[in-house]
Amino acid sequence: MGRALALITTIIKKDLVSELRAKESVVTMVTFSVLILVLFSMAFEPSRETVREILPGLIWMSLIFSGILGLNRTYARERFNDCLIGILSSPIAPYHIYIGKAASSLVQLFIVEIITFPLYFVFYDLEIDGSLGILLLTMLLGSVGFILVGTFLAALTSSLRSKEALLPVILFPLLVPVLLASIEATSAIFAGLTLNQYLPWLKLILVYDLVFLVVPLLLFDYLMEVD
């Protein structure tokens, strides 16, 4: 267990240091997210009630779209100089790579969330009637689900020629449950509903997270086979 954790940490550190130096993913993701929220604030009148209704969807969609930009880069770094073969030739299990990649992508998505989320208060005059703590928990669980399935599918498409176009096409249908549940839970928290009223959505996200933690662990060996 200690050795597995050390290997996963090694992958995470390497990815984050590489990203810190290259500034490829996070900068693009933040810019894209900010652009979306600014453009939508110009397209709609922020004080309107309809904006309040669509805001949870807008927040999650902008996160997902910007997250996909980052996911497309996750394995591109490993394909350059055949680094993935270098890693796979070492005594590391493919699931170490999967968890390490997912964790480093999650950290990058959190950075985007930390930077962009406060901007919704500025641009949309956002007020939260429910618990901020539960909202953050919802953001965390929803982001974990998205990154787990996204990291798995990014590995699947990473060796394909049209990977940038293909990843969203195969990712979105699989994201429907977690996206729907996250939007519904976020709406309920914004509206100040009681926890019991949106607890089923949180449970759905949690189950989704568990499924997409376990399934890729079982299948990642096959994805990482080198021809």
């Binding site: 290997l7 390497k14 130096r21 770094r77 073969i85 030739s89 005594p91």
Partner: protein, 232 residues
């Protein structure tokens, strides 16, 4: 010792390897020659445990890779024409990364030892994207040796090297051979790195077309045998 038993591999309808068996004793330096598409690199990837054969078995020492894949990989080092290095990281960070994957003991001392061996001590903290092709390949040698492997696989290691790089790689190969490492090198070249070769395998159309020791081989014999076997 490396042993491949009845190895076969197919891509689509193409049989890249057809029931190949070979045994390379400990300390032997073997070169694998063959035309493009003969199956040389596929054979190397299978023997190096990074690709699975459709059928057959690989043994390193007396251990089969089926149950001991992770443990066996510790014994293997791979040097390819691709560097396996991350451009944004420094030479030191790349070596530390791979050293940690192999769980190398006394990693700091080992990094200094291998980086000195390839003459890049002064560039230790430089990012890899600033390296020339020659420096990259030298660092790649250090990466392949960071965990002191018993078996070394070389896939076209001289590709793109300048004269200084070629000379350094030849010195490293001599050094590895003298320390009884088992080496298997896939190459196109009839000259580079061939001085210390003990044995030559010629692969053609996924099969071993010739397998012979280099002792008593006269100048020009290798080219003659190669073209005879490849043409047939």
């Amino acid at each position: 010792m490396i042993e491949g038993i009845n190895l076969s591999k197919t891509y689509g309808n193409r049989n890249v390897l057809r029931d190949i068996s070979l045994m390379i004793p400990k300390g032997e330096f073997t070169a694998v020659l063959g035309p493009n598409g003969a199956g040389k690199s596929t054979l190397l990837k299978i023997l190096a445990l990074i690709s699975k054969p459709d059928s057959g078995e690989v043994k390193i020492g007396k251990q089969s890779f089926v149950n001991l894949k992770g443990e066996l990989k510790r014994k293997i080092g791979i040097l390819s024409h691709s560097s396996f290095l991350y451009p944004e990281l420094t030479a030191y960070e790349n070596l530390r990364f791979y050293g940690r994957l192999y769980d190398v003991r006394h990693l700091e001392e080992q990094i200094i030892s291998v980086i000195k061996k390839v003459g890049l001590l002064l560039a230790l903290n430089e990012p890899v994207y600033t390296f020339s092709r020659g420096m990259l390949q030298r660092l790649s040698i250090a990466r392949a040796l960071i965990h002191s492997p018993e078996v070394i696989f070389l896939d076209e290691p001289f590709t793109g090297l300048d004269q200084q790089g070629i000379s350094l790689l030849q010195d490293v190969l001599k050094d590895l051979k003298s320390s009884q490492k088992t080496i298997l090198m896939v190459t196109h070249s009839f000259e580079q790195g061939m001085e210390d070769i003990d044995r030559i395998l010629i692969i053609n159309k996924g099969q071993i077309a010739a397998d012979f020791p280099t002792e008593n081989l006269q100048s020009g014999d290798l080219k003659r045998i190669y073209f005879e076997k490849v043409a047939s």
